[in-house]
Amino acid sequence: MNFEVPSLSLPFYGSAFPILFLVVTSIVALLLGVSKLNTPKVNYGLNLFAIIVALGSAVYQYAISGGAGEIYLSGGFTAGLLGFWGQGLILFCAMVVSILLGDSYMSPKFFRGEIVSLFHMVLAGMLTMVATDDLVTLFVGLEMASIGVYALIGYTRPTKLSQEGAIKYFVLGSIAAAILLFGFAFLYAAAGSLRISEISRAIGKVSGHSWIELGAILTIAGLSFKMALVPFHMWTPDAYEGAPTGLTAFMATAMKVMIVVATIRLCENGLDGVHGVWLSTLSLMAAASLLFANVMALAQQSVKRMLAYSSIAHSGYMALALSAMSGAGGGMSVPSILFYLIAYVAVSLGTFAIIMWLENERCENVIVDDLTGLAKQHPRAAVALAVFMFSLGGMPPTVGFISKLYVFNAALSNGLIGLVVIAALGSTISLYYYMRIIVRMFMLDSTPVLGALIKPKKSLATVGIVFVSVLIVILLGTVFPEPVMQIARKTAGEVTGG
């Protein structure tokens, strides 16, 4: 590697603006924390302002960017469509989560200077990770995001449950990071470069090199941990349950977008040459996630734990699509994952918004039985939650169905019939636990447990978020899937070269 002094131009500052801006606001928030201005209101305003500016900038960059973009810092930062797409989606999730947190009982605890600062560091790390061609930068971004999130889980809500979740996530996450780094080391040793695209070229020359294969397997294992694929999923239920719900929503959406986008880039651009080695592993993990997570979710009482297993299962669908990336129908694979991510993010944010709204009075985890009779107390919330549940279960006419259709289509174009049958089984099982929630809300008559206790405060922002999510879920499922698919295709073009 030659370390030339990078010549940083105005376009670089333009395309890296979201990251740089968040680093700056992170420092500002830290300074505000020791000043007299350290009130939740000010911090909330600063946080939202910074995220919206960064989001606007990422969207603008996406709009003006064409295909595979410029590469800066010898691979450290790539200004391509996929990167901006990931950044935009992550920032969108962060924005929604911030608004929801502002409405929740967590608001005074979360909007403190040091926590907002940490949050922006996390975001900067995530944005870096989705837009880099360099393994070390990727790792640094991942660790910035992960370490920050461990701290956020344990620090913002000091209860036994959340600390257990944070510690578990931290210990296991560190091991996974070590495995990932180990894999990177092998890749570097074999290929002589840390650039993802150059590793890909080197693989062509040294095919059959066992270090490359070992490196690829270890890398995939490390990434699967963060994606929460079975058997690397153990941390997920505890971390999801322990974290304050706002952060659970953040982990389920933004963290997932980050890791999936980075995985797509690594698999498509870097390790495609040795896909014979890791593709079958990935399919196996996808199948295991689809079956195991859906079965485990059946037994959960806590709604957040159930959603954690559901999130593992949804990772399984994305891994299923990813296992179809090489071969005849490979062109379908990445767009279908990106579409799936959009669908999953919209549904998850809506679901967590409702759960946070319900939690506000009790300040503790909602269990499935708490939802009994919700339809009588709050019919609109119940209908919205039912729409989300049907979408998670993949029933038309919601976006959940279209995204599943797209994933199945990608998988079947590569002849993965067995996997699709397993996915179909998993979907049927999953429908059962999603319907359990609907049954409790609409069909059980016993005295409402939570519904009667709670008079959640009316909050325009939460209502708006839920309403928009329902709208997205229905509209993308019926009238407008096509434009979003076009965007997914265009974005995928950066890594698939289409």
């Binding site: 279209i402 259709l405 199945f408 174009s413 179909a424």
Partner: protein, 482 residues
Amino acid sequence: MGSSLLGLLAGLHVWYWFDGSSAALQFVESYEWIPSLGIKYIVGIDGFSLLLVVLTTFLLPLVLLSQWSDSEEPSQRPFLALLMALQSGMIGALVAMDLVFFYVFWEAMLIPMYFIIGVWGGKRRIYAATKFVLYTVLGSLLMLAAAIVLYLAHFRQTGVYSTSLLDLYSVKLPIDAQMWMFGAFAVAFAIKVPMWPFHTWLPDAHVEAPTVGSVILAGVLLKMGTYGLLRFAVPMFPDAMVQFAPVLIFCGVVGIIYGALTAWVQQDAKKMVAYSSVSHLGFVVIGTFAVMAGGELSVEALSGATYQMINHGISTGALFFLVGVIYERRHTRMLADFGGLAKNMPWFATILIIATLSSVGLPGTGGFVGEFLILNGVFQASPIAGMLASLGVLLGAVYMLTLCRKILFGPLDNPENKELSDLSAKEFGYLVPLAVLAIVMGIFPNSFMDKTKPSIERLAKSYKSYSLDYRMGRDMGHQSAN
């Protein structure tokens, strides 16, 4: 109510302008939906869907009338909204001429039915509703996988992405691939029919559903399964169909006899009618798969099957309504609690007997025409199946007449039954049209069958190289009107 009548008018309008002399798709409209996957919005009607669409639009106003009440119950509004959603789902599935578009409606129908059973149903409603959805979804997802395989095969053969039926009928597949895919489609539809041995959800769903839910379930929803077999499974995988036909006929015959025997021993009137559905739909299934010696499908059996679908919708719909009538008065459906009702409820008795006779297949009612045609066709294809199925007709008479006898005749000794009043004007309103139609369909079958005949003949003769041409039937209709 108003909108359902508009729907009926639209249904009759379609009926009137439908060109009965042609097998082509009519009233076709086509738009792009998801062009990048070749998924289109195509709707059209041919002889198979026509009668079912009209039946659907005919049943909904009756169902709504039965729900008519002066009291402003708060739960009434969502219920009606769900009925409307169900209606649009059913019609959408019947007219969709694009596989994915069909699938969307096919699955979307489940949601309103799920709530209708689950929220307004009986004691074990949640169990029944959940079972209903899970059964159907498992079958459907496998069908979806098979559909995607078919779509990809079409792409490999022609280089065009399309899910339109007009294109997919032309796909030629090797026989072993056909077997798997036919299996996936057939299981999905067999669950919906429901064909033995996939029928176990039906009695639960029927017994727990509110009366209206049962009527729609029996009247139209079950027909989606047999319609799907005719529309998709047979013409898409013709060679596999020929291979599978004996199995399906066997299942159909077992269903007929098993359903009849089980119905016979039921103590609950609604359960009895539910099992009779299993038996009756067995007839439709064997009618669909009567492969003649020359490899052609029997035209008679097919027309019988399509006719029997409609007839079953009307007679069983009426039976469920009637069971609902006595349940509303007595809050029990046990046969042992009744007896002698003919004495103080003569009108109720009259309509029950008409519905029963139509269900049994007495000459002069619609049931006779359908069953006779089916048996006629099946005898030519497989005499043994025909004989066993005829046994089913006999058993049908036994259990249905048992139902009548236990409810209507005998001594009126239960004091509670003496107080029961005869049908109200509202009940007349929704029962009489059904009873009249049951008889009209028996006396003038041709006026119904003429319109379906070309489609049936075409499927029967050329299902191996089946294709759908289409034209804008509506324009022709307007021209002839001028």
